[in-house]
């Protein structure tokens, strides 16, 4: 019944061996606190996968602490086109990641703390974990008005969301992870989490927008370090272990064999974009050319991130019909991706007569098509 038991047996986290025997007591309250030395969202998500797949959580639960450099993280069954401003992400070099747990879209930067609570499936208790976090916050600052909602959010002053939650339930193990806003750039957060997309129809799980606030706005002495420490302290107390944080390097194959493959998989186009539930784009755009403005209607079905069906409705003869149908034919089956489309349209353009006017029109149409992706 136990998956990959041989790997579980040979799990070695060399720094664990230095943890005093208290960490190895065979009580259910055993625990381990790990903190990542990396700020790369893919590496950190890979550590979660690794722990979930390989660690035996029966005797010892794990708390994983991590922070990421700017990244948008969407839930397992979400649509990135619907959830965030992809063009802005690409412009600002903000990474896009899809996690394996459910829930909605969040923005991470170094001012946000991520906490992952690993347990057996049976002992998976989100509410208890969040109450632990609230307890830690109140121990730091008793006046802080923080509480857990029944949606598993943590609210500050009854109105501002400071933490969101998601979970994954596997065969024998489960994890619950949540964010905690300490000093995140709220301006970037709100602009990247706003999608300008119109005309998208999908049954992907939607996010529920919320007003957010940073804990540091409430009290400037609440830095990430202070908060991480307080949460680790409370976890250690509740699990009757030493308040010792074990640092872990997510790139270290000797400690986490197979980790780099996991990180690679999380970065593939197939995972990030290709796992988007099937959706339909039904929209139009205006092209201003010389003295006229034309309306172009586009209808596309996208499945596994690829264009399954494509219809472009252009005014007659604005472009040679043969060229238009070639465009539609080439787009069909291709990734719903601006880079792939650039390659495709450049290739097609070479088959055209060297007519400046034609090329301008073609470029206008194709630029607009790419903006949809």
């Amino acid at each position: 019944m136990v998956l990959q038991s041989s790997l579980k047996n040979c799990f070695q986290l060399s720094c664990i061996l230095q943890v005093p025997k208290a960490g190895f007591r065979s009580t259910a309250s055993g625990g381990l606190i790990i903190q990542s030395t990396s700020n790369d969202v893919y590496q950190n998500l890979a550590v979660e996968d690794w722990i979930h797949d390989h660690m035996n959580l029966e005797k010892r639960q794990v708390l994983f602490l991590w922070r990421n450099s700017p990244a948008v993280v969407i839930g397992r069954h979400q649509n990135p086109w619907q959830e965030c401003n992809l063009r802005l992400l690409r412009q600002k070099n903000i990474k896009l990641a899809r996690r394996r747990s459910g829930g909605g879209t969040v923005y991470h930067d170094l001012g946000n703390i991520n906490l992952t609570f690993f347990t057996t499936r049976k002992k998976h208790e989100r509410m208890e974990n969040l109450k632990l976090v609230v307890k830690a916050l109140k121990a730091l600052r008793p006046q802080l008005d923080v509480h857990v909602t029944d949606r598993y959010d943590i609210l500050l002053d009854r109105q501002y969301k400071i933490s969101g939650t998601a979970a994954k339930l596997g065969r024998t193990a489960a994890y619950h992870h949540c964010t905690l806003l300490c000093s995140t750039d709220k301006f970037v957060l709100s602009s990247v989490l706003k999608s300008p997309y119109k005309g998208l129809k999908s049954n992907a799980t939607p996010s529920v927008p919320a007003s957010v606030k940073n804990l540091f706005e409430e009290d400037p002495s609440l830095t990430c370090e202070v908060l991480l420490d307080a949460i680790a302290e409370e976890y250690a107390t509740q699990h009757q272990i030493d308040h010792h944080i074990n640092l872990i390097n997510p790139a270290d194959e000797t400690v986490l064999p197979g980790i780099n493959n996991k990180a690679k998989e999380l970065q593939t186009w197939e995972w990030v974009y290709g796992k988007t539930p099937k959706f339909n784009v039904s929209t139009h755009f205006n092209i201003a050319y010389k003295d006229s403005v034309l309306d172009v209607k586009v209808d596309m079905d996208v499945k596994h991130g690829r264009i399954e069906v494509c219809n472009i409705d252009l005014p007659q003869q604005w472009l040679p019909p043969a060229l238009c149908s070639e465009l539609v034919k080439s787009l069909t089956g291709n990734k719903f991706c601006p880079n792939e489309t650039t390659v495709l349209v450049t290739t097609l353009l070479r088959t055209c007569p060297q007519d400046g006017d034609l090329q301008s029109r073609w470029n206008l149409l194709c630029e607009n098509m790419k903006m949809l992706m």
Partner: protein, 158 residues
């Protein structure tokens, strides 16, 4: 009335054979529907005409809460027993689904795309997840029948 026994049962609106003796005691006829069998991960499978229909149990759907999304495999996907074949999302938790048997996916329940709540409302009927071939019928014997599953649930609830 002519026709075989299972046609008679169906005509009388009787599903499943557990009330009339175990499936294995009945003569082997392709049109028999086998009694529902359960895995310890709360999936069920019921085989008819060599095609298994897979879903999750009432215990599982209650524990999950309202299902908001069903992630199911493509038709033609080959699964081994215990393979992860998809996930159900409910209350921000993605819960993995494991194949009860080895076989190939022949059909997926399209109704779940627009109505994932069917898994909660009708987990044994309209909320079925996938249909698959049964590559190795002996694997079916390794699963729990309904009585054994009921006992199993009681034991884990304690």
């Amino acid at each position: 009335m002519t026709g075989n026994l299972s046609q008679v049962f169906r005509a009388l609106g009787l599903f499943g054979l557990k009330k009339f003796g175990s499936a294995s005691a009945a003569p082997v006829q392709h049109s028999y529907r086998s009694a529902r069998k359960f895995t310890d991960k709360h999936e069920w499978i019921s085989v008819e005409n060599s095609i298994g229909t897979v879903g999750i149990s009432n215990f599982a759907q209650e524990a999950l809460g309202d299902v908001v999304y069903c992630s199911l495999p493509e038709i033609g996907t080959k699964l081994s027993k215990h393979d992860e074949f998809g996930a159900l999302e409910s209350v921000k938790a993605a819960s993995e689904l494991y194949s009860p048997l080895s076989g190939e996916v022949t059909e997926i329940n399209d109704a779940l795309a627009d109505n994932p709540g069917l898994v909660n409302k009708s987990c044994y009927q309209d909320g079925w997840l996938i249909k698959m071939t049964v590559e190795n019928p002996a694997e079916l014997d390794e699963l729990m029948n309904e009585d054994a599953y009921e006992k199993y649930i009681k034991s884990i609830e304690d």
